[in-house]
């Protein structure tokens, strides 16, 4: 770090990403609370552990190969070979991955991406509660968290990704690259996994399975909102000069940029986050007739729908796009549930998947012709590119792998828990051990008391 300005910029950037990582941890806390609150009491410890163990499993695998995929895959396999040079700099044995006074950014940047990986895996985790084997979910967590989402990030969320170059793909805050793919993946899994016992009556009518603790759901989703602030900030480069970007921008004015190194402001994304949250909450309240949980989820869906273009939208556009998205995904959720008898326990496919797809398509029209990149020769943002991008995210990299891996797990008999266990509850054995331990220590204390 030669020069005080360079040193300050580097340390500021390092600290900036570190703060976003801490904020984003709240997303995972929120997901855990939401899932546990939504599950029935007889399943809550297993539901919690299923989500908590996503943290180490995705972290280790993201360190081993996920991060390398991001840097090696921007044009692979359709538009070039692996970028071995960039990939090599981000392998587990690269010097950049250890304590290194010459590189203070790779570690925090890796961590920010890792937290996105946890989110992708956690979205899938919510939709499959109370009937999937933890072992099966943890394989899915690694596949979505350290393989498929990071391939889509290399293709469509990297300044040199082929989707950005040739399709003009624009997805600043991850409507597609996190939410559409994770929702699509969850849809593929639940299609094979099947609904919870009792979810559908004999005539096919869906039953509501109420949460065992509504307050946990409420706090959980508010924590997800909070962590989402960190997520938004983490998707930006906080400050960079045109010289360092190396694209077409002229002059010497430094700027914040989105992930594609195209200019935006932290101020804009803060206002747009709040306006799309508000549009989502208001529309969800109306469309769900005041249902508390759909209203809360609608706030999240509003943000997700507007996220693709929230680096550029006007606040009113962000609000209206969030509102429109919620109306579409709410209706789509119930149509799919009735038509295909699918049990998405927390509405994750709708809130993340459908919102992501709708948000990408809308952004293609609203941002039509805007430059997708500061580099020369890239396609501009356009509706066809955004729609193709949505299909790649939701179906190609999301739904298909989720469905195929679940099919393999089902064929091997390792996807779903036995019906007897589903009825008695996943925590049955632990409850027994708890009751036995209580009885034993109480008996021991009574014996000691009698001897006094």
């Amino acid at each position: 770090m030669d020069g005080n300005l360079n040193a300050l910029t580097t340390v500021f950037t390092e600290f900036y990403y570190w703060v976003t990582v801490v904020f984003m941890f709240l997303i995972h806390v929120g997901f855990c609370m939401y899932e546990v609150g939504a599950s029935r009491s007889r399943n809550h410890m297993h539901t919690l552990m299923k989500n908590v163990m996503i943290i180490p499993l995705v972290t280790v695998t993201f360190f081993l190969f996920g991060w390398w995929i991001y840097w090696a895959f921007p044009n692979f396999p359709l538009f070039g070979g692996l970028d071995t040079e960039m990939g090599a700099a981000n392998l587990p044995w690269s010097e950049n991955m250890g304590t290194n006074l010459g590189d203070r950014i790779t570690g925090v940047f890796w961590a920010a991406f890792l937290l996105f990986s946890w989110t992708a895996a956690s979205i899938v985790s919510g939709s499959v509660i109370e009937r999937i084997r933890s072992s099966a979910l943890w394989v899915h967590a690694v596949m979505i968290g350290s393989v498929f989402w990071i391939i889509d990030a290399a293709w469509g969320w990297h300044y040199a990704g082929w989707m950005v170059k040739y399709l003009g793909y624009h997805d600043a805050y991850a409507s597609g690259v996190i939410h559409a793919i994770a929702g699509g993946y969850a849809l593929g899994v639940i299609m094979v996994l099947g609904p919870r016992l009792g979810k559908f009556a004999a005539d096919g009518t869906p039953r509501d399975i109420p949460p065992h603790n509504p307050w946990m759901l409420t706090i959980g989703i508010f924590l997800i909102y909070t962590g989402f602030w960190g997520f938004y900030a983490a998707c930006n480069v906080p400050v960079i000069s045109p010289e360092v970007i190396g694209g077409e921008i002229v002059g010497t004015t430094w700027t914040a940029t989105n992930i594609y190194l195209a200019p935006t402001t932290l101020s804009a994304i803060t206002v747009n986050f709040l306006m799309s949250l508000s549009g989502g909450l208001m529309a969800a309240y109306v469309v769900s007739k005041g249902d508390a949980f759909w209203t809360f989820s609608g706030g999240l869906a509003g943000i997700i729908t507007a996220s693709a273009g929230n680096d550029l939208y006007h606040p009113v556009q962000a609000m209206l796009i969030g509102a429109v998205g919620v109306v579409i995904v709410y209706n789509l959720h119930y149509w799919v549930e009735r038509r295909f008898k699918l049990d998405d326990a927390v509405g994750a496919v709708a809130v993340h998947g459908y919102s992501g797809v709708v948000g990408l398509v809308i952004s293609g029209f609203v941002l039509w012709g805007a430059p997708s990149s500061p580099f020369e020769g890239y396609a501009a943002v356009n509706p066809i590119g955004q729609t193709l991008g949505a299909i790649i995210m939701f179906f190609v990299l999301g739904f298909l792998p989720g469905w195929a891996i679940s099919k393999m797990q089902a064929a091997a008999g390792v996807l779903r828990i036995p019906e007897e266990v589903e009825l008695q509850g996943l925590d049955y054995a632990e409850h027994h051990a708890y009751e036995d331990a209580k009885a034993s220590i109480t008996e021991s204390d009574k014996t000691l008391l009698a001897q006094k």
Binding site: T255, Y285, A370
Partner: protein, 71 residues
């Protein structure tokens, strides 16, 4: 044609101001925002009124009394 007014970033950022889509339509968008907000209140007032009318006929006296005692 670009909805944000820029077709490339080959510009000096010191000379760039607004970059949101459909500049010049701010007043129209604000009117839409007001319609959305006021429309929401209208829908909510009507719905809550209907709900309370139904709710006032739903209660059973003995159950309400028990609920009052439960605090």
């Amino acid at each position: 044609m670009s909805t944000i007014g820029y077709e490339s970033w080959a510009v000096d950022l010191a000379e760039v101001g607004a970059i949101y889509p459909f500049q010049g339509w701010e007043v129209a968008m604000t009117i839409l925002c007001v319609i959305f907000w006021v429309g929401w209140h209208r829908i909510q007032f009507v719905r809550e009124g209907e709900h309370l009318e139904k709710a006032r006929k739903m209660g059973e006296k003995d159950k309400i009394a028990k609920a009052l005692e439960r605090y």
